[in-house]
């Protein structure tokens, strides 16, 4: 075509074609979305520390491995109680004139999604140990260690937050590892990552591609099928109490041979699972794992039964029916 033998015609046509398409698939949708969406009323603004922590999160490139988006597919249910929506990101603006908006949605999930990690793993102690070296608490983890966020001190002051390291990882010269301001800010940011509840008038999006409910069967009357207690343990408890039930000396108590696990005080046991525990100064505080994860009595029973029958433990088995009352009671206490 002789029309395109003229360079002005050719390159102007191509540019216009590209620019028009760009306007329709990128510019207009982006402008539209940044205008129509407002933050949820329940969304809490980041504290000063959390904001600093977010800057550290960006600076260390955590987004390379951690997403912050719960997709509306069933497999993403483990990362949040509802799919993420545009409103969840609406409060995030440009960092400053030099740096762009950081929604930190990410495109790689080499590590877990962090949309709701503040609910899932709120423990300060665990987060500090994990940042110091992730392999202390999760043996198979390939996450980088961040020892440069910690300081070694001979004299620990009152304001210092000591990292509860097991002996083999603790400094051999008797010094203590304390968290720097940066480490505490980063943890503050992680703890702030919680999915904001939706207003009652709005229904959450559906999770698509539902899985066959073969593992969640006990809700029927027959009660023949049991939940996989081990899977629940791995997903919710193992990070601290470890696969061998031994916990981490100096950080997290063992469940093997634990009087709470093997004993008869079901109320205490369930209360710990649901609402957390901080009775022993030698160990870190436990977060309200069960309440945060929204455990049902079936899930609690499965975990109790797994813990009571593993690592040489030999406790009495429980059924969901017999603990239902306690679970409901304990849940009330949480509020």
């Amino acid at each position: 075509m002789s029309f395109f033998d003229n360079h002005k015609n050719l390159f102007l046509t191509a540019t216009l074609f590209f620019v028009i398409l760009t306007i329709f698939v990128a510019v207009v949708p982006a402008l539209h979305n940044q205008v129509i969406n407002a933050p949820l009323p329940s969304a809490e603004p980041l504290s000063e520390d959390a904001l600093q922590g977010k800057a550290l999160y960006i600076s260390h490139g955590c987004v390379a491995c951690h997403t912050q988006q719960v997709r509306n597919v069933d497999m993403d249910k483990v990362w949040g109680h509802r799919p993420s929506m545009a409103a969840d990101y609406a409060h995030i603006g440009r960092t400053d004139i030099w740096r762009n908006t950081a929604t930190l949605m990410g495109t790689e999930r080499t590590g877990p999604d962090l949309t709701d990690v503040g609910n899932r793993q709120p423990s300060l102690d665990w987060n500090l140990v994990h940042l110091f070296n992730p392999r202390i608490v999760v043996k198979e983890s390939i996450m980088p260690a961040y020892p440069f966020l910690f300081a070694y001190k001979e004299q620990v002051g009152d304001a210092d937050v000591v990292v509860r390291l097991p002996e083999e990882y603790a400094p051999k010269d008797g010094r203590q590892v304390v968290a720097t301001k940066e480490a505490l800010q980063l943890v503050a940011y992680l703890q702030s990552l919680k999915q904001a509840p939706l207003p009652e008038s709005i229904a959450a999006l559906d999770f698509l591609y539902k899985r066959e409910k073969k593992a969640e069967g006990t809700k029927g009357d027959d009660g023949a099928q049991e939940l996989d207690g081990q899977a629940l343990y791995v997903a919710n408890c193992q990070a601290c109490h470890q696969a061998d039930g031994m916990g981490l000396p100096g950080a997290f108590p063992p469940l093997k041979g634990s009087p709470v696990v093997e004993g008869d005080d079901l109320e205490l046991y369930i209360d710990i699972i649901m609402n957390g525990y901080d009775a022993h100064p030698e160990y870190g505080a436990m977060a309200a794992v069960g309440v945060n994860a929204g455990f049902t009595e079936h899930e609690v029973a499965a975990i109790i039964n797994f813990e009571r029958s593993s690592w040489g433990n030999n406790g009495k088995k429980v059924t969901a029916e017999e603990i239902k009352q306690i679970v409901d009671f304990v849940k009330l206490q949480a509020k």
Partner: protein, 711 residues
Amino acid sequence: MRKKSFLRFLCFALVFSKVSIATALERTTPYSYQWKGADLLLCIALLLAVVLLIVVLLVGEKIENVTKPLRKEVAKQEDKLRFHLKRLNSSQITRVLQHKRKQQGHTGVIISLLSGLSFSLLPSPLLAQQSAVTRDNLLQQGGVIITLVLLAIPVVMAVLILFAKIGKRLHTLDRQVRGEEAQEVADLLEKVDLQEIEQELEGRKAALDYQVETNSLSGTATAKDYRGLLRIDSNTGVQIVSVKKKAVPRPNIDPALSKMVIGYLVSATFWLLFGTTVGEYVGIKFVAPDIDSASWLSFGRLRPVHTNAVFWGWASMAMIGLAYYVVPRVSNVRLYSLKWGWYSMHLINTSVLLGTVSLMAGVNNGGGEYREYIWPIMLLFAIALVLTLINFYKTIARRTTREIYISNWYIVSAIIFTIVIALVAYLPFWQQGLGETIVQGYYMHQGVGMWFMLFTLGLVYYFLPQQLNKPIYSYSLGVLAFWTQILFYTLIGTHHFVFSAIPWWLQTVAIVGSAGMAIPVIAGTTNFLMTFKGAWFKVKDSYTLPFFLVGTIFYFTGSMQGTAEAFRSTNLIWHFTDFTVAHSHLTMYGIICFFLWAGIYAIVPRFTGQEAPQISIGAHFWLALIGMMFYTVPLMYGSTLKGIMWLEGQPFIQGVISMAPHWLWRAIGGSLMWLSHLFFAYNMYKMIVVPTPMDVEEEIVKKLEDKEISA
């Protein structure tokens, strides 16, 4: 006998097909992604069936051959004699005639039967083993599967031996039948009168012995090579590396332009070495996460250093450098401004250097992939693009050809589009909230498709026809690919955020666009392959064409893989896993890098008149190709398994554990790729820096001329 053995084969076939059906039936339970032992067995059974089929076909053919003479009607003795006499060769005729002239002879025959075929070799445990297979639970045990495989090996071996034996027997039979016939004819010949056949045989012998003189066509004059067509290779020993054609030095390349292009290519080589050294190190961190504990070396900071260095430092630099040669050449004019070219190069180098330092110091733009450099740093790169654009545009405006060659369509458009993309993505006063993500999807994919892919295609449209010494197959296909690439590629950005909070319709548009990409990809691939057509023989003579070929193949497979990944169903398995990493290496490495290397090896020897050793070019090619396969295949396999584990709701850490061996393979493949870049750098050094050994002939002429002057 034939029927009997065929029945046996049928039995085997039936047994195996029954097993296959049985195992298939066991899987009628609702489909889940879990890999079952039955699947493996099905595969093994299928493999066995294929092997058996081939063996059966081979044996069948053999039987056919052997029984042919048996089935032939017994011809009249006279005809038989004539038949064989006509087939005698010259020396046989001489011997027959000698013999007949002396008149001598003798006999003897043995016949044996075929009944002794040792079917006893067939092991009955085969059937016993297969009948036990019906039990579902057994089949899924690893130990059972291994046992079955182990058992199958000797069974297959036995079957193969059986057929070998049958073949041997048939061969013996064949010899016997032919021997008998030979004897018969010999006997006849014995009785025949000499005069009766002498004349005929003598005549036949004379005909057979006739030979054309070796010089009957060429005459006796000495050959003269007036056009220099002959290439005499005096090195006739065993060749370890095959000899490829030398690059032909071309006249009329402005030395100043050569110098600038080489400047670009040397910078590119540096950034390739640097970027992939970082990449290699980052890959090792998946296997050894505690290898260091410095903040500026931590994974999150080094990963963008790697991607940006190879994007903006290596690939962009090499592309622009090659384009500085291509654009003026296809416009048939000199470059508008060499000085601006040098400015662009310095700006890009500065940009990547500053970007690298700032990323390692923890200063980045907020985490969008390939958008990690903050805008003041990216601005330098953008200025370089603007300078290059004006330079190219003015060069094209002054062209002496009527039409604008297709290469320049692609190259100049790529630069214009990339400036648009950079403006959209970097203008610092918008993109709040989700707007950032929508633009990020657009930016990262246009960066790949409108910058690297479009630009490189433009280079290929020049270099491939040039290296094949024939025109591009179809100009129109190139034009079709150009417009459809713009139409579809612009749409596909947000397919990186399928199932995210981005509007559903936008995701769907991106998926549709991804499917539409089949048009430009198939058009482009067809165009390149059809250009190869009729010149395939050149591939083995050239060290640049294999790079083009690999690039073309991955242009098709890599790009179509991208389409496959964009669907919602495949997003379920592959999104967020290392599959994306494997895909980006298949494309950025398999397509872009291979095409760029091809262009570099094609052009640098023409600038400098010096070539790299073929053995190190070969090492570069094979290490890069094999390394890339080791890198990508385990990652794709492993991340598919990982995606399935996520679908099944297994704990996240299980996926990490299952990736461990695949990450190790990735590190191994990455090491090979990295090694190939060392060879590439060495080749660049050989092509540019090291002078070739003294050319004796050139020296002789020079010495003569010197004498002339001094005399």
